[in-house]
């Protein structure tokens, strides 16, 4: 482990990058759906925290990790519905409502989780080796000795890609975010669909939180997501609203996070505080790169992102 140039070290970093990236990936895919529908939700951090707490609390009491994940899904969706109510029905400012959701989620999770801090997890998602595939040299131990939530996310990424770019409802989803007036004229119920996607996005963010509290760091502590929700929002931009590219970004990120921890563990003579800055500095670098790329390829955010849809103004 001490030789940071060895293959074994690299494999272990990559194997740790996948689960670390998975938590961000769920949140990122959720935000992607929401933004594709034209709604910006900056409450990802709050929804992840509540998902992490809800998932851990249910798993703690039922000793069933899967029930925890389902609870996280429900909690994330429930929180997102507050945002949907405020920004879709009441047409409130999306930025401020999302910030309120983050503040609310982090405060409420800290309050409700006060008795669960430091409790050991009786149930969590352990590593499961996939028969045969896990025996592939290097790749097997990186990709196929992971927990169940990772395997679910392997399926979710192509599924969402196919849904967004190759199906009729996916086309409708894109229309919602690009031009809701057209979507309305197509006979779509803009408000109801936006509610649906905001809530689905929140549910995925909740699962992202549970991927931390039930898999990578089983347990609960205040603010345990440490900004990963915000990183997920940044990765949606980096991934140019494309699930496949978002997945690439999330694993890249997982790599930075895992690499940073391993370097600390390997006793690299760089202060751990500087190493801990890496994911955040990396996010800024990634956004700068993304801005150059979106300018060059003329791909940008969904045109109606962040704007409430009011029919009589367009009709």
């Amino acid at each position: 482990m001490n030789d940071i140039t060895s293959i074994a070290f690299l494999t272990s970093v990559l194997a740790a990058a996948i689960p670390a990236g998975t938590a961000i990936l769920y949140a990122c895919l959720g935000e992607l759906l929401c933004e594709r529908a034209g709604v910006l939700n900056l409450g990802v951090e709050g929804m992840m925290l509540m998902g992490a707490l809800g998932g851990f609390a249910v798993a703690y009491h039922t000793e069933q990790a899967w029930l925890g994940a389902i609870a996280a899904f429900a909690v994330g969706g429930a929180l997102a519905s507050i945002h949907a109510l405020l920004v879709v029905s009441l047409r409130a400012n999306q930025v401020v409502s999302g910030l309120a959701l983050t503040l609310f989620g982090s405060g409420l999770s800290a309050f409700l989780g006060r008795d669960l801090v430091g409790r050991p997890a009786p149930a969590s998602f352990g590593k499961v080796a996939v028969p045969l595939l896990s025996d592939i040299p290097y790749l097997g131990s990186i990709l196929f000795r992971q927990d169940a939530l990772v395997y679910v996310s392997y399926g979710l990424v192509p599924l969402l890609w196919w849904f967004v770019f190759r199906t009729r409802p996916g086309l409708n989803l894109r229309a919602l975010g690009e031009n809701p007036a057209t979507a309305d004229a197509m006979g779509l119920n803009v408000a109801a669909l936006r509610y649906g996607y905001v809530i689905a996005g929140g549910a995925l963010a909740g699962v992202g939180g549970a991927a931390i509290s039930l898999a990578t760091n089983p347990g609960w502590s205040e603010n345990m997501t440490a900004g990963r929700g915000w990183i997920a929002v940044a990765l949606v931009i980096f991934g140019t609203w494309n699930p496949a590219r978002a997945a690439f970004g999330a694993y890249l990120f997982g790599g930075v996070e895992a690499g940073q921890f391993r370097l600390q563990g390997a006793g690299v003579p760089i202060s751990s505080f500087y190493l801990s800055m890496l994911p955040y500095l990396f996010t800024i670098a990634v956004l700068i790169l993304a801005s150059r790329e979106t300018a060059r390829r003329r791909i940008g955010a969904p045109a109606a992102l962040g704007r409430p849809y009011v029919r009589e103004e367009r009709g």
């Binding site: 900056l42 709050g46 507050i82 109510l85 405020l86 009441l90 047409r91 409130a92 400012n93 930025v95 401020v96 409502s97 910030l99 309120a100 959701l101 983050t102 503040l103 609310f104 989620g105 982090s106 405060g107 409420l108 800290a110 309050f111 409700l112 006060r114 309305d184 004229a185 197509m186 006979g187 119920n189 205040e222 440490a226 900004g227 915000w230 929002v233 940044a234 931009i237 202060s271 505080f273 500087y274 801990s276 800055m277 955040y280 500095l281 996010t283 800024i284 956004l287 700068i288 801005s291 150059r292 300018a295 029919r311 009589e312 009709g315």
Partner: protein
């Protein structure tokens, strides 16, 4: 498609209640909405407390008396008003321009780092008349740099300032951690991470026996300054226009990129001053956990204060009370102080909802008004 009659509920949704824009939201409605949202948030917070087995009345009573009940508790509330006022003003002026600076926390830390550096390593022997102004300038500059980075990236490259400013929060806090654990650590600090104490000349004068310090004057002067800038200067006018419609501002010949950079730097400078006054007025050293999230609460301060300097000043005082009250219930009842941010988030939800209802009004519409013809929809 132009209908003389506003579109009614669609046939799939035969709702009879709908939102209709008001001609102009009145000032009275805005104030009423703020008060009602605080009240409703306290109600919801009370239900959460009740559901988790606490007595909400008792909790609120402890919070209230802890914040406003005596001379000393009132003084403590004023102490916490200082950083909230300064960061709230900074965030507020950026929000006016639709620049979502949520990096006030990091800007506060960088201001504190710069001011501490000046006092400990550059001018350790200077008299107060030199040292305090120098620290003020350093604090302003530290915060301004931290705010200008996302401002520059937004103005020149179109990079989303929300995320870059937030990411710098983590970076600035880790930088402070690194300094107090590493190069700036007090060698005789008994293992506590923190710098040496600042020289006496760096301490901001206090009011009597309380902890209320000169930073309060900084905050009030800053509020006045922001008001003057917004109301009486060309720059303030441009900020207002750009917040309304950036493209219109550009066509009118305003230097939008330069204004974005300047406003973000100004916004950061105010937060940096908050960091300086925390170090020079309260801690007298740079330490871990310098701020319990003032930079985030600032967002609520700014929005609840309707982005107006007077409103921000008032709300900073009230939310400072909420923070002091939160600390109080932690100390005397053993409940987590996280109740305060939870209530803040709830207040903001109700405020947003209430503002929408203030901007629009709920209209009852009889079905006979008829749904809009939707022949074009199929």
């Amino acid at each position: 498609m132009t209908q003389p009659q506003p579109a009614a509920a669609s046939p799939e949704h035969p709702a009879v209640l709908r939102l209709e824009a008001r001609a102009a939201p009145s000032q009275a409605v805005a104030v009423l909405v703020s008060i009602v949202s605080v009240a409703l948030a306290l109600l919801v917070g009370g239900l959460v407390l009740l559901a988790s087995g606490e007595d909400p009345i008792a909790v609120y009573r402890v919070m209230f008396t802890g914040a406003f009940g005596s001379r000393s508790s009132l003084a403590e509330t004023l102490v916490k008003t200082i950083p909230l006022l300064l960061t709230g003003l900074g965030v507020g002026i950026a929000f006016r321009m639709q620049l979502w600076n949520i990096g006030a926390e990091g800007q506060l830390y960088l201001g504190a780092i710069a001011a501490t550096g000046i006092a400990l390593f550059v001018l350790p022997d200077a008299p107060a008349s030199v040292l305090i102004p120098a620290m003020v300038l350093a604090g302003l500059a530290g915060g301004a740099v931290c705010g200008a980075i996302p401002g520059f990236l937004r103005a020149r490259l179109g990079v989303n300032e929300i995320i870059t400013s937030l990411m710098l929060n983590y970076v600035a806090i880790l930088l402070a951690d690194q300094l107090v654990h590493g190069p700036w650590r007090n060698p005789v600090g008994f293992g506590f991470p923190g710098t040496e104490q600042l020289p006496d000349a760096a301490w901001l004068p206090r009011w009597g026996t309380t902890r209320v310090h000169l930073g309060l004057a900084f905050g009030l002067v800053a509020a006045l300054l922001v008001w003057v800038v917004l109301r009486r200067t060309r720059w303030g006018y441009e900020i207002g226009v750009m917040g309304g419609n950036e493209r219109a501002a550009r066509y009118a010949g305003m230097a939008t990129a330069r204004n974005i950079l300047l406003v973000m730097a100004f916004s950061g400078a105010l937060a940096g001053l908050a960091g300086m006054s925390e170090v020079a007025g309260i801690g007298h050293q740079l330490q871990r956990n310098l701020s319990p999230g003032y930079g985030y609460t600032a967002i609520i301060v700014a929005w609840l204060g309707h982005l107006h300097p007077a409103g921000i000043t008032l709300v900073a005082f009230l939310l400072a009370g909420l923070l002091v009250g939160g600390d109080q219930i932690q100390m005397s009842m053993g409940l987590p102080a996280a109740i305060a941010p939870m209530l803040q988030g709830t207040i903001l939800f109700f405020l947003l909802g209430g503002e929408a209802l203030g901007r629009y009004r709920l209209v009852r519409r009889s079905p006979s008004a008829g749904p809009r013809p939707r022949a074009e929809a199929r």
